[in-house]
């Protein structure tokens, strides 16, 4: 029992990551986790907690939401988000935002201030202006890293058409599906407060090089986000796989209809999805947390009232210094790490996102 919180910064993280990419993200996860813990300790309602934490994640430019969102095929940003209150099952969602600094807060306003659940594109932007939420020039959200990612994705598409790159057999087992997956991902937060209220929130810039107008799983209730009286779930990964698997809803459905525990229920849709496509964070009304993923890694963090906390990227929690982190990662990842160290730093930097 007691409060619990889990948050993610995206699944689909490659097997190795240079410190200059890893450290800021760890710091971001740590900061956002601390914000969430402080809020829960001060008896903030779960719905407000998840909104608060996701705002922080959106503001952090190293994650794929708000500032730092990946770019569509035209090089612009189209953001989407959704939020759901487990007790009332009220929800709000937005898509196609280009100027709203915190999409999750606009989703919250759709939920609270309109008779609708989901507003998108020009209608959503018009609503944002009516509500006086903070907006910025579209260029505010674009980061140099994402410009580079878009370029790489466009080049990769050309390469893929020309020839198929042979992949090492081991890598295939953990391969993420191609087509624009990047080192960053959707963000999300789920929480249960001390009253047992559950809530979930997810926010994203979507897929690198996506078509203009493409909507993914994050704003779709039941796919990327879901909360009811049993649990709260936020998913990340390949949108199309999460949509067809109705991942977030299925976790709750398995608990309810098959009596599975949170951990079992959460593992099931992740295992069922194609390898390398899905990760999620979930909490239950009784304060349990689980964070399964079938990708090589997922940026994640969690904490429970009894004092447990964790910040992780790959298989095992980061235990402090680099050396212990090295030993804590799986054998395959360790071997891969050494191969790339031996090939030199420039090789290390050139590792493509695992396909």
């Amino acid at each position: 029992m007691g409060w619990a919180i889990a948050l993610h910064g995206g699944a689909g993280v490659p097997l190795s990551m240079p410190p200059e990419n890893r450290l800021p993200r760890e710091a971001g996860l740590r900061h956002c986790l601390d914000v969430g813990i402080a809020a829960l300790k001060s008896h903030m309602h779960a719905l407000d907690v998840v909104e608060l934490v996701v705002r922080e994640l959106e503001n952090f430019p190293h994650f794929n939401a708000g500032k730092g969102s990946v770019l569509n095929t035209l090089g612009t940003v189209e953001m989407e988000a959704s939020i759901m209150d487990g007790k009332t099952k009220k929800c709000g969602a937005v898509s196609g935002l280009t100027t709203v600094v915190n999409p999750i807060s606009l989703a919250r306003l759709v939920m609270d201030k309109t008779p609708h659940i989901y507003l998108a594109f020009h209608g959503a932007e018009a609503f944002a202006r009516e509500q006086g939420v903070e907006t910025a020039d579209p260029t505010h959200f674009i980061t140099p890293e994402n410009i580079e990612r878009l370029q790489q994705a466009k080049e990769a598409n050309r390469v893929q058409i020309d020839y198929t790159q042979p992949m090492p057999r081991e890598a295939k087992k953990n391969a993420a599906i191609a087509n624009g997956d990047s080192q960053t991902g959707t963000v999300g937060c789920v929480a249960v407060d001390s009253e047992g209220n559950l809530a979930s929130a997810t926010s994203t810039g979507g897929l690198v090089n996506k078509m203009v107008g493409r909507i993914g799983d994050s704003p779709i209730i039941g796919a990327g986000t879901y909360a009811n009286h049993l649990c709260a779930v936020s998913a990340t990964g390949r949108g199309e796989a999460i949509l067809r698997g109705t991942v977030a809803r299925d976790v709750a459905a398995l608990m309810e209809f098959k009596g599975l525990s949170l951990k079992e229920a959460a593992a099931y849709p992740v295992d069922q999805a194609p390898p390398g496509t899905v990760g999620l964070v979930a909490v239950s009304s009784t304060g349990e947390v689980t964070m399964p993923f079938n990708t090589p890694g997922m940026f994640r963090a969690c904490a429970t009232e009894d004092g447990y906390s964790e910040i992780s990227i790959w298989d095992s929690p980061i235990k402090g210094n680099v050396l212990s982190m090295f030993w804590s990662i799986s054998k395959y990842n360790r071997i891969n790490f050494w191969i790339h160290i031996c090939k030199g730093l420039h090789q290390f930097k050139k590792i493509p996102t695992v396909r």
Partner: protein, 300 residues
């Protein structure tokens, strides 16, 4: 295997005072669509093609709230959405915010078959439509006198209309299982009368307004908010899958227990060729037929 089956709907929540001729018009249209579906199924056309075919018929006829005859946004324009889902691999295609695409369901089909994504909306969807060469028309094509009059009423009553005291036509949908036991579902709509621009409803959201999997195909209609909150379409399949209920029990369970205060209806069929419909509204325009000769069109 139980053979093929088809179910169609033209919206839940019907005004009990709807003039008799409107009721008959609606039933005739649904009957015609069921016949179109039956011929297609008899000539072994796959479920996914049948649902598209039938929903195109419903979109083209101005009677119901989809394609031509779609209800109007607060600005007096039309913004349409649609979704199609193929049970066997749970592939899907959805579109929202269409203003010039004559048959939204066919664009949804193209999103599924010809794009790397599952859901395209607004200007991105319209661009895709242009590139795919689908038939495009002016927004005025979709607007009917009836709907202009209804928008006026809705504005006077200051309501977003899901209230059959101001009668508004309903979302359309079709679910089919073919001889091979493949299920498919499709839904198409203009949304809510007097809705905010950019509003997306339940219809194009997988698992909410529409769902199809190995076991069944489902299309919902009614209060969008209630359908989304209850992930209604997925719920039918989930109770079949995880609780082992049969189709009729699942539909019953879901309508009885999942809608809380909300009003909605749905059609569903199973890969075994069973058909079911359920609604907690006053009436739902619907029609269905099964291979063993059963056929029914009704409202109440």
């Amino acid at each position: 295997m139980g053979g093929w089956a088809i179910a169609v709907h033209g919206g839940a929540g019907v005004d009990p005072n709807l003039p008799k001729e409107r009721q008959e018009e609606g039933m005739r249209l649904l009957g015609r669509c069921v016949d179109v579906g039956i011929s297609a199924l008899r000539s072994n056309i796959p479920a996914i093609d049948v649902v598209e075919l039938v929903v195109r018929e419903l979109e083209t006829d101005p009677l119901f709230n989809s394609g031509r005859g779609s209800v109007l946004t607060e600005n007096g324009t039309v913004e349409m959405e649609a979704i199609i889902m193929d049970g066997p691999k749970r592939r899907c295609g959805a579109v929202s915010g269409l203003t010039t695409v004559k048959n939204p369901i066919s664009l949804a089909r193209l999103v599924m078959d010809k794009s790397p994504h599952s859901y395209l909306a607004f200007s991105g969807a319209e661009e895709f439509a242009e590139k795919q060469g689908v038939e495009l028309v002016d927004n005025e094509y979709f607007i009917t006198e009836n709907n202009v009059a209804m928008l006026k009423l809705a504005k006077e009553a200051n309501s977003i209309v899901f209230d059959y005291r101001i009668p508004a036509p309903g979302t359309v949908g079709c679910a089919v299982v073919d001889k091979e036991g493949r299920c498919a579902a499709a839904t198409s709509t203009g949304g809510l009368m007097n809705k905010m621009r950019g509003r997306i409803g339940d219809s194009p959201l997988i698992g909410c307004g529409t769902y199809a999997c190995e076991l069944c195909g489902v299309s919902c209609t009614g209060e969008g908010e209630a359908i989304i909150r209850s992930t209604l379409a997925r719920e039918v399949a989930a109770v079949m899958e995880y609780k082992g209920l049969n189709l009729h029990e699942a539909v019953d369970f879901v309508i009885r227990n999942r809608l809380d205060e909300g009003k909605a209806g749905l059609i569903a069929l199973s890969k075994k060729g069973e058909v079911a419909c359920g609604f907690n509204t006053t009436g739902m325009f619907r029609g269905c037929a099964t291979e063993d000769g059963f056929m029914e069109v009704g409202i109440w």
